[in-house]
Symmetry: C2
Subunit: 320 residues, 2 copies
């Protein structure tokens, strides 16, 4: 198999990852999304130029690519690689990106929802290798999800499946941006954790002085909170633990419904590692029924921030 | 295709259903489970004799059967039709029922978990026809579940999937027999509804006198409560509505995770019909995100109590 090229297309930046077929020897590039163009036609021209320049920089010809994958947040028609609804990429909507890029580079192209691409990448090359049924929870600003079931990416009706961040853990719980109450996302996404940190500081919860000192005036984003937790802040650790326990309740629902071989935590918040993983594991273990409890296999992602790009590239390569 | 023969094997009775390939022209029989024998060898002899007698009564030869299916509560190794763990059929555990019955009748035999068989039956012949992704919630004493995903029965790791009654709706909610708190089953199964009715009567909730009068001293089981609801008891209606609203919260988690084409309510409690279906629908509709809300298709079962037997028979027929 040839080289993998995956693009993780966000509202702010496009992250490009070139990798060997096993995911190794990665090379990266980053382009401001706005720099690519203002309408679908311009975006296609911009993408083509950037990709050709990246390949030239690395001394590669398009023919050496096994596949080109685009991972985008939103609803995607994966048949012709068209963005149906992408809140961060409104100006890209409607363009048959997959078909057009495939024509221009004469290589297989896949356009896939970013969390679907992420679970696929982790399944094939990362923390999900060797499983048949895999659940991935992506803790970003919100909480997304991806499912590998019976050895294949599961998309559900109209590609709407795996909104695992909107599994309810508390029917009368916190309001969620989706309009419901008590979703996992309202507790375990970066937005929720930051809001909880702000409340903890404003309400002067025990340890607030130490946390404020460690933050040094920086906003309490997950990265800064993680640094504070490592530096010894009991309050920062408790904030991750609260998110982790909520996540653990949701993981129990996932396991009881889906009986996966493994559950993976990914997304930026998962960089907090054991501070969120261990409370999630403890909460889930305490709540699972006996036979399933023995199968609780909960792990952190293995591909860092590259999982979605690599997964999209693999999906493209396997179309060939 | 030939005649379908399905057995729904419970701890008290075995219900046998003979049907045409389309599920029509059904004939039924019922045998006390204990009458079949005390150990796996005796059970096989007893089952064979009962089945031969039933076929003779209907003027059928074994060769006319498309398949013989057994639906049993519990964990089943569907490869050789062996009950691995069946709390209501402890004395049947370990016997290779599928393999042995297939040898004795020279017909394809399937042994399947009862709720898996139920969702399969409803999918092929009942309320789930025409769907690709189907969720079934079986409201019996507890609450079970079944999943058809991408046009196939989904079993998950070691056949443990689709324990949809143990999706959590309230992390600090009612205790569930599974050891967790706040599961759907703790609100919407017959056991939970009966307990809620007893509490409502003991605590003299509004309408308790009318309900007690309508029950006439009978235990408040779902059938009696349904009769009371039809006779006008506002309290009986509210008890079903409370179960339905809890179910609706759980259905939202199912839809957000799985994005099915349809959700079916089955099991004995579903006989309460609109008294439980409509509150579930209203609760789910109020909580679903926009794009999924438009796809909420929630229906009652169509095969009555025969779904599991027919589904097991179909699974057998399709093995041929």
């Amino acid at each position: 198999m040839g080289i993998l090229l995956g693009l993780d297309v966000g509202g702010t930046n496009v992250k490009a990852v070139l990798a060997a077929p096993d995911g190794g020897a990665r090379r990266r590039a980053r382009w401001p999304t706005a720099s690519l163009g203002d309408d679908p036609a311009a975006v296609l021209v911009g993408l083509e130029a950037r990709i050709r320049a990246l390949l030239a920089r690395e001394g590669l010809a398009p023919a050496q690519l096994a596949g080109l994958g685009l991972a985008c947040a939103g609803l995607i028609d994966s048949a012709d690689g068209r963005l149906l609804s992408a809140p961060n990429l409104r100006r890209w909507e409607g363009a048959p990106l997959g078909r057009e890029l495939s024509r221009r580079f004469e290589r297989p192209v896949a356009v896939e929802n970013d969390v679907n691409a992420l679970v696929y990448g982790e399944w094939r090359l990362g923390a999900g290798r060797g499983t048949r049924h895999l659940v991935c929870l992506a803790l970003g600003t919100g909480v997304g999800g991806g499912l590998i079931l019976d050895g294949a990416l599961y998309r559900g009706r109209r590609g709407l499946a795996a909104e695992l961040g909107h599994i309810v853990i508390a029917r009368d719980g916190r309001r969620c941006p989706c309009g419901n109450r008590g979703c996992i996302e309202a507790y375990a996404g970066a937005r929720a954790i930051v809001a909880a940190a702000r409340r903890a500081l404003a309400r002067r919860r025990p340890g607030h002085r130490e946390l404020a000192r460690l933050l040094g005036g920086a906003p309490p984003d997950p990265r800064a909170l993680h640094a504070a937790a490592r530096a010894g802040s009991a309050l920062a650790r408790e904030l991750f633990a609260e998110a982790g326990r909520a996540l653990g309740v949701g993981i129990v629902s996932c396991i009881n419904a889906i009986a996966p071989d493994r559950v993976i935590l990914a997304g930026g918040v998962s960089a907090a590692g054991a501070y969120i993983l261990e409370p999630a594991r403890a909460e889930a273990a305490a709540r699972l029924m006996d036979p399933t409890q023995q199968t609780l296999d909960l792990r952190l992602r293995a591909l860092g921030d590259d999982g979605a790009a690599l997964g999209a590239a693999l999906l493209a390569a396997e179309r060939a």
